[in-house]
Amino acid sequence: MKTLITSTTSTPEGPFDKRFGRAAWFCVLDEKTGESTFIKNENAEGQSGIGTKTAEKVVELGVGKVISGDFGPKAKKLLDKFGVQMVIINEDLKVIDIINRIKG
């Protein structure tokens, strides 16, 4: 299963972004292979409806689990609809810390 982690930078050493739609980068982690790739969020600077746009992207990427700091109501609804697991982490962590926690 693929997991998406919101990130402020394009490296695992960078801090994790607690914003969902407005995160600068997305780290997509393949839990089977342990590989992670970074995708730039083109909608980060948009006016409105960013949460929906990002949720749309998540579903398109075939991600099963999203880790972020919070989710807006519209994004929540959409992710719920497509059976995407939402995870909220409220600590200041690096992306690599979260990856390590998942890998155990």
Binding site: G64, V87, E91, I102, G104
Partner: protein, 147 residues
């Protein structure tokens, strides 16, 4: 026909069919109950699952028939009867054997459910597509429904 039934038998043998999730409208408002006034305090406890609590609530507090209650929880009447029976036996066991009651998550599907992991403090949802009932980050089973 024989082969088919054998196949079924094997299937059953290899892996139990995953339980359908039982809808729980609201998780219990307590974490547990402890007996008092008993000299030799028992350390053992019974684990009351959320769906068992819900079954007791629907049948004995909301005074629904088993048919109505099973519809609320999204399961068959027979399954409801089984859960309800187990819940009553657990409560009886706790009372008679002076045991603590603990509320445990079980196989509940909460309406608008968010859970918290007491190990890593992550909050998460469990959509119907996901089988695992543990924390999606640290894999701990020490999880509880958020109210």
């Amino acid at each position: 026909m024989r082969i088919f039934s054998l196949y079924l038998y094997e299937q059953k043998f290899i892996m139990a069919r995953p339980k359908t999730l039982r809808k729980v409208v609201k998780p219990p408002g307590f974490k547990g109950y402890k007996p008092y006034g008993h000299q030799h305090a028992q350390t053992k406890c019974v684990e009351l699952l959320y769906e068992e609590y819900e079954a007791i609530k629907l049948a004995d507090y909301d005074l629904m028939t088993h048919q109505q209650a099973s519809e609320v929880m999204g399961i068959s009447r027979a399954t409801f009867a089984r859960i309800y029976e187990r819940a009553r036996r657990k409560m009886a066991e706790a009372l008679v054997e002076v045991k603590e009651i603990k509320a445990v998550y079980g196989h509940a599907l909460l309406d608008k459910s968010w859970l918290i992991c007491h190990n890593c403090n992550a909050r998460f949802t469990i959509p119907e597509t996901i089988r695992n009932r543990n924390c999606p980050v640290c894999k701990s089973f020490n999880v509880e429904a958020l109210k």
